[in-house]
C-alpha cells in the first residue's frame, strides 16, 4: 500500500511544519528579539558562563555594533542594569551609550549599573573574539593586534575572515602577521591536510620566538606522526636560535643590574672611597631621594597632573638638594667630630640610619608608597629576541650620565680640585688656603646628594618604603671595596663585573646560591688583592 505510506509521510511532514511554525511564532511573540538583542541580554546575568555565551552569540550575530560592545567589555566599559535587563557602554568621553542601538541615552542612566565582570578565561575569549571581528579594521595597528590575537587563539572560525583579510591587506607587516595567524589556525585545524600543516610549521618556525615555541609545543595528541616530527624539528631549531639570544639577554640583565649597583654605590665611592668615612647611613640617603620623588609626584598629582611625565625630571634636582642638605647637616653635626675614629663613625652612622628610617616611618607611615612610572618609563620593546624594558634602559643611561657628571666635576671644577687636594694631603691643602672643613662638608654633601639621585631611579624599580636603603648598603660597600677604595673607575668596573657575574650565575645556581657564590668570590679576591681592582698608589695610600 504505497499510497497510504506516502500519505502518512506527507502528514508527518505537515505536522512537523505546523509545529515548527508554531514554535517560531511563539518565539517571535514572546521576545521578538534579534540574535543581537538576545546576545546582549546574556550580559545582564552576572555569570561568567552566560557572558561567554553572550560573546559567542554577539560574534555570530554579524551586527556591526558587536566589535564595539566586545571592545568595551575588554576595557571594562561595559555595564549592565540587572533591574531593566539592559546593557550600556561608557564611551571614552564618559557618555552612556545604549548597547542596543549604539546611541547616547536620553536622560539619566539606571541607578543599579554594574560593570560586566571578566576573569582570565573570559579575557582570552574576548581577545580572540575581538581579533576575528577587527581583522578588517581600517586602522593597521588594530589589524596587527587582531592578527596577533588570532595567532594565539588559533580559532578555526576565524579562517574565512583571515582569508578575506589576507586578500585585501596592503601593509606588509600586517600581512605577515595575518599569514602567521592563518598558519596557526591551519596547524590546529583537524580537517587540514598534513602537507598544509607542515607548510604552516615552516611559516611559524620563521618567527623563532617563544610564542612560536608555545604554539608548536601545544599540538594536540591526535596530530599525525609526520606533522609531529616537523614540529619537533622546528622546536629544536627555534630553541637553538633562542640559546644565542639568551646569552645576550643575560648580558643585558647583567648590565642593568650593574648599573643599579653602580648608582647605589657611586655616592658611597665619594663618602667612603674618597673621604674614608664608613657611612652606614648611605642607604638612607638613597631612601630620602626616593621619598622626595614620592612627595614631588604627590604635589604634581594634586596641582599639575599634566606635568606628571616630567615628575622625575623635577624630582632629580629636588632629591639631590634634600639628600645633599641632610648629608651636610650630618657631616657638620656628627661626622666631623669623629674623623680618624672609624669604629665610632661606623656606630654613629648606623644609629643615624635607624633614626632616619624610623622618622620616615613616623612621618609617612610604614607602608609602601606608590611612586608612578611616567609613560616613557613603562613597557618594553623587543630587540631581536631579547626584551628590553624601558625603565632599565633609562636607568643605565641615567647612571652613566651621573657617573660622567661626577668625573667632570672632580676633574674640571674648582670644587673638584679642592676636594682632590684635601683628600691627597690635608695639611698641604690647608696651608694653600683651602678651608678644609668646608670642603669636607661639601664632599660629604655631594656623596649624599648623589645617593639621593640614586633614590629617584630606584623608586622606579623597587618599592618605596623606609627599608629601601637597607637592601643596597651591603651591595654598595661590596662594589666600592671590590673596585678599589678611592677610585671611581674601579667602582664602575666593579659594579658591572658583579652585575654581569651575578646574572650569569643566576640561571645555573639560582638567586640565593648565586649571591653566596659572588660573596665567596669577593672574599677570595680581597685576600689576594686587599685594595681591590684598582689600588691607589703613592702617598694617598697612607693618608
Amino acid at each position: 500500500m504505497p499510497g497510504l505510506k506516502e500519505m502518512r509521510a506527507l502528514c508527518d511532514r505537515l505536522v512537523a511544519l505546523v509545529l515548527a511554525l508554531g514554535v517560531f511564532a511563539a518565539a517571535v511573540a514572546t521576545s521578538r528579539a534579534t540574535p543581537y538583542d538576545d546576545a546582549l541580554a546574556r550580559f545582564t546575568a552576572d555569570s561568567f558562563a552566560e557572558t561567554i555565551e553572550g560573546i559567542n552569540r554577539l560574534v555570530a550575530s554579524g551586527n556591526p555594533l558587536a566589535a564595539i560592545v566586545i571592545g568595551a567589555l575588554q576595557d571594562g566599559r561595559l555595564f549592565f542594569s540587572a533591574a531593566t535587563k539592559r546593557v550600556f557602554i561608557k564611551d571614552t568621553s564618559e557618555r552612556w551609550l545604549d548597547a542596543a542601538d549604539g546611541r547616547p541615552i536620553v536622560g539619566a542612566a539606571p541607578a543599579d549599573l554594574a560593570p560586566v565582570r571578566l576573569n582570565n578565561r573570559l579575557r582570552g575569549i574576548v581577545a580572540a573574539a575581538l581579533g576575528s571581528l577587527t581583522l578588517m579594521s581600517p586602522d593597521p595597528a588594530r589589524r596587527l593586534e587582531a592578527a596577533r590575537a588570532v595567532f594565539k587563539s588559533h580559532d578555526p572560525n576565524a579562517l574565512p575572515a583571515l582569508d578575506q583579510a589576507i586578500a585585501k591587506e596592503t601593509d606588509a607587516r600586517v600581512k605577515q602577521a595575518l599569514l602567521e595567524a592563518r598558519a596557526s589556525v591551519i596547524l590546529y585545524l583537524d580537517s587540514a591536510s598534513d602537507p598544509d600543516k607542515i607548510e604552516a610549521i615552516g611559516m611559524i618556525r620563521q618567527r623563532g620566538d617563544q610564542e612560536a615555541l608555545a604554539l608548536l609545543g601545544g599540538l594536540p595528541g591526535s596530530t599525525s606522526a609526520p606533522v609531529k616530527k616537523a614540529a619537533a624539528e622546528a622546536i629544536a631549531s627555534i630553541e637553538n636560535g633562542l640559546a644565542v639570544w639568551a646569552a645576550l639577554q643575560n648580558m643585558w640583565y647583567g648590565l642593568s643590574l650593574g648599573s643599579v649597583l653602580l648608582l647605589a654605590a657611586i655616592g658611597l665611592a665619594i663618602t667612603f672611597g674618597v673621604m674614608g668615612v664608613i657611612n652606614m647611613a648611605h642607604g638612607e640617603m638613597v631612601m630620602l631621594g626616593a621619598y622626595t620623588t614620592f612627595v614631588v609626584q604627590e604635589v604634581i598629582r594634586a596641582r599639575q597632573p599634566a606635568l606628571f611625565d616630567y615628575s622625575l625630571a623635577i624630582a632629580i634636582p629636588a632629591a639631590f638638594v634634600v639628600a645633599g642638605t641632610v648629608g651636610i647637616l650630618v657631616e657638620r653635626g656628627i661626622i666631623r667630630f669623629l674623623y680618624g675614629r672609624p669604629l665610632e663613625t661606623l656606630l654613629a652612622t648606623w644609629g643615624l640610619s635607624l633614626i632616619l628610617q624610623q622618622s620616615i616611618r613616623t612621618a609617612f607611615g610604614p607602608t609602601n608608597k606608590d611612586v608612578g612610572n611616567p609613560s616613557w618609563m613603562s613597557g618594553a620593546f623587543e630587540l631581536g629576541q631579547i626584551t628590553i624594558t624601558n625603565n632599565r634602559l633609562w636607568i643605565i643611561v641615567f647612571t652613566l650620565l651621573v657617573f660622567a657628571g661626577l668625573l667632570g666635576l672632580l676633574r674640571f671644577t674648582r670644587l673638584g680640585l679642592e676636594m682632590r687636594a684635601v683628600t691627597q694631603n690635608r695639611a698641604m691643602a690647608a696651608s694653600m688656603g683651602i678651608r678644609t672643613s668646608r670642603i669636607d662638608a661639601l664632599t660629604f654633601g655631594l656623596g649624599s646628594g648623589i645617593a639621593g639621585l640614586a633614590g629617584v631611579a630606584l623608586s622606579q624599580i623597587d618599592n618605596v618604603s623606609p627599608n629601601l636603603g637597607q637592601g643596597y648598603i651591603i651591595d654598595s660597600f661590596m662594589v666600592v671595596v671590590f673596585g678599589g677604595v678611592g677610585n671611581l673607575w674601579g667602582t664602575l668596573l666593579g659594579a658591572f663585573t658583579l652585575g654581569i657575574a651575578n646574572k650569569f650565575l643566576e640561571p645555573y645556581a639560582g638567586a640565593v646560591l648565586g649571591k653566596i657564590i659572588i660573596l665567596v668570590l669577593i672574599i677570595l679576591f680581597i685576600q689576594k688583592r686587599p685594595r681591590g681592582l684598582f689600588a691607589l698608589k703613592g702617598r694617598a695610600v697612607e693618608a
Partner: protein, 441 residues
C-alpha cells in the same frame, strides 16, 4: 618603697603631680601596674611597629586597639574594662626580642591573652615562652601549618585553606586549566613547606616532575629580570602555565613591576599569590597586574553588611579614608570575638579555663558566615580567589561552596599525613593515628 609610691599614685592630685615629673613616671608606671590590674583586663598586642615587618604588622596593632576600644564601649568584659598593652618587638633580624617582649607582657604586665606575631620565625620564637608561662597567643596570619600547640590559636589560613583551593581553581576550567606550574617563593620556612605540600599535591593530581619549576629567592630580592624571563621561557612549552607565588613582603612590588614591564599578562600566565593583599597593593600601580590572582579568606571588596560596617569603623578609627582592610585584620576580628566569648563562657580570664572553653566557640566572620574554633586550634573559614582590579582591590571570581576547616597537619606530606591535632578529647597536638601515640612536644 614600691607600695609607698603606689599608694601615693592612687591619690588623683598626687598622681597628676607625679606624672608631670617625666623622669619618675617610668618607674612609677611599672610600680602602679599591679594595683591597676584589679580594675582592667589586659590584652597584649605583640606586633612590630619598627623594622622591616612594620609595613605589615602596624596595621594589625592598630586594629587590635580599635577592637579593644569597641569592646569597652560595649561595656568591657566580665564587668571590667579591657586595656591594650602595645609593645614593639622590632621587625627582626633580632627575633629573640619577640620572646623577650612576650615574657615582659606576661610576667610584668600580667596580660590575659596576647594577639601577635606575623612571621613564622617570630611565632616559633615565642612558643616556649607561652608554654612555660602558660598564656594564650592568637596568631592571625596564613602560615605553613605542621603545628598545633595548646597555647596557640591559629586564626589565619592553614595550607588547606589557601594554597590547595588556589591550585584547584587554576586547574578548573574557569581558572584556565593550568598544566604547568611555577612555584616561586622567598627562601624561608613558609614558602618551602607550602611548596613541598603543593608539589606533593600536584604530583598526586598527575602533574609530571618536568612540569613543575621551583624557584627560591632571598628576602627583599629586587632584581627579577632573570626569573621573570625564566618563567616566560617555562611558559612557552605549549601547555597552560600558572605561577603560584609565596614571595614575601617587599619583594613582591619589584616582581610585579617586572612582570608588567616584560608583558607577562594574566591571560597568558596567571600569578596567584598567597602573601599579596590590599595592603601590599597599596604601593603599586596595579594597572599592568589586572587579572593576576590572590587567594585569601577575606577581601575588602566583599559586600556584606558586617564588612561594610567594619571598613567604615576602621577608616574612622585610623582617620584616613584611603586605608584598606585585609585578611589578617579579619583574622584578628574573628580571634578577638572568639576570645571574648570564651572568657564570658568560662567566667574568668584564667588561661587554662579559656583554652578549654575556646574549641567550639563560634564567631561571625566578615564575609557573612560563622567561623568555629576547632579542636585543633585552627578555625573554619571560606576560601576566596580574587583578581586584581585596576583600583588595587580584588574582584572575587571563585569561592569554596562552604567553610573549610583548617588542618594543622597536611595530608600530602609523608611526615604528617598520619598526624592529627585534637586538644579536646585527645589532648594532643600531634597524635599519630597509626601508632596511636601522642608525639608530645
Amino acid at each position: 618603697m614600691h607600695t609607698n609610691i603606689a599608694a601615693v599614685a592612687k591619690r588623683p592630685s598626687a598622681r597628676r603631680l607625679l606624672a608631670a615629673t617625666a623622669g619618675l613616671a617610668f618607674g612609677l608606671a611599672a610600680a602602679a601596674l599591679p594595683a591597676q590590674a584589679q580594675d582592667t583586663i589586659k590584652v597584649g598586642v605583640l606586633h612590630s611597629l619598627s623594622g622591616t615587618m612594620a609595613i605589615s604588622e602596624t596595621t594589625l596593632s592598630d586594629v587590635m586597639r580599635m577592637l579593644i576600644e569597641q569592646q569597652n564601649k560595649k561595656g568591657g568584659l566580665l564587668g571590667k574594662k579591657l586595656e591594650a598593652v602595645v609593645v614593639d618587638p622590632g621587625g627582626g633580624p633580632n627575633w629573640a626580642l619577640f620572646a623577650e617582649k612576650a615574657r615582659e607582657l606576661i610576667t610584668r604586665d600580667k596580660v590575659a591573652v596576647v594577639f601577635g606575631c606575623w612571621t613564622s620565625v617570630s611565632r616559633k620564637t615565642v612558643l616556649p615562652v607561652f608554654k612555660e608561662l602558660n598564656n594564650i597567643l592568637f596568631y592571625p596570619v596564613q602560615y605553613e601549618g605542621e603545628e598545633s600547640e595548646r597555647n596557640v590559636f591559629y586564626t589565619g589560613a592553614a595550607p588547606n585553606q589557601q594554597a590547595i583551593p588556589a591550585v584547584d581553581y587554576l586547574m578548573s576550567k574557569d581558572g584556565g586549566e593550568a598544566k604547568r606550574w611555577v612555584l616561586a617563593g622567598t627562601d624561608y620556612v613558609y614558602p618551602r613547606t607550602t611548596n613541598k605540600i603543593l608539589e606533593a599535591y600536584l604530583k598526586q593530581k598527575g602533574v609530571a616532575e618536568s612540569d613543575i619549576m621551583i624557584n627560591y629567592t632571598p628576602f627583599g630580592h629586587s632584581d627579577w629580570q632573570t626569573i621573570v624571563s625564566d618563567i616566560k621561557k617555562f611558559g612557552s612549552a605549549g601547555k597552560k602555565t600558572a605561577v603560584v607565588s609565596t614571595i614575601n613582603g617587599d619583594a613582591n612590588v619589584p616582581f610585579y613591576k617586572e612582570l608588567g614591564n616584560q608583558g607577562v599578562k594574566a591571560t597568558d600566565i596567571p600569578v596567584v599569590a598567597f602573601s599579596v593583599g590590599e595592603e601590599e597593593l597599596a604601593g603599586v600601580d596595579t594597572k599592568p597586574l589586572v587579572g593576576h590572582l590572590a587567594a585569601w579568606n577575606y577581601f575588602q571588596s566583599i559586600k556584606t553588611p558586617i564588612n561594610q560596617q567594619f571598613i567604615g569603623e576602621w577608616k574612622e578609627f585610623i582617620k584616613n579614608p584611603k586605608r584598606v582592610t585585609n585578611d589578617p585584620m579579619e583574622a584578628h576580628f574573628i580571634g578577638f570575638a572568639m576570645w571574648v566569648k570564651a572568657v564570658e563562657k568560662a567566667g574568668t580570664t584564667d588561661p587554662d579555663k579559656v583554652i578549654d572553653a575556646l574549641p567550639g566557640i563560634e564567631a561571625p566572620n566578615l564575609t557573612g558566615g560563622t567561623s568555629t574554633m576547632l579542636p585543633n586550634h585552627h578555625i573554619s573559614k571560606p576560601v576566596y580567589i580574587g583578581e586584581v582590579r585596576a583600583d588595587g582591590q580584588f574582584d572575587v571570581v571563585w569561592q569554596t561552596p562552604g567553610l573549610v576547616p583548617g588542618e594543622a597537619w597536611s595530608k600530602y606530606l609523608e611526615g604528617s599525613k598520619d598526624l592529627v591535632a585534637d586538644w579536646v578529647t585527645l589532648k594532643c597536638g600531634n597524635y599519630n593515628t597509626v601508632t596511636k601515640k601522642c608525639g608530645g612536644s
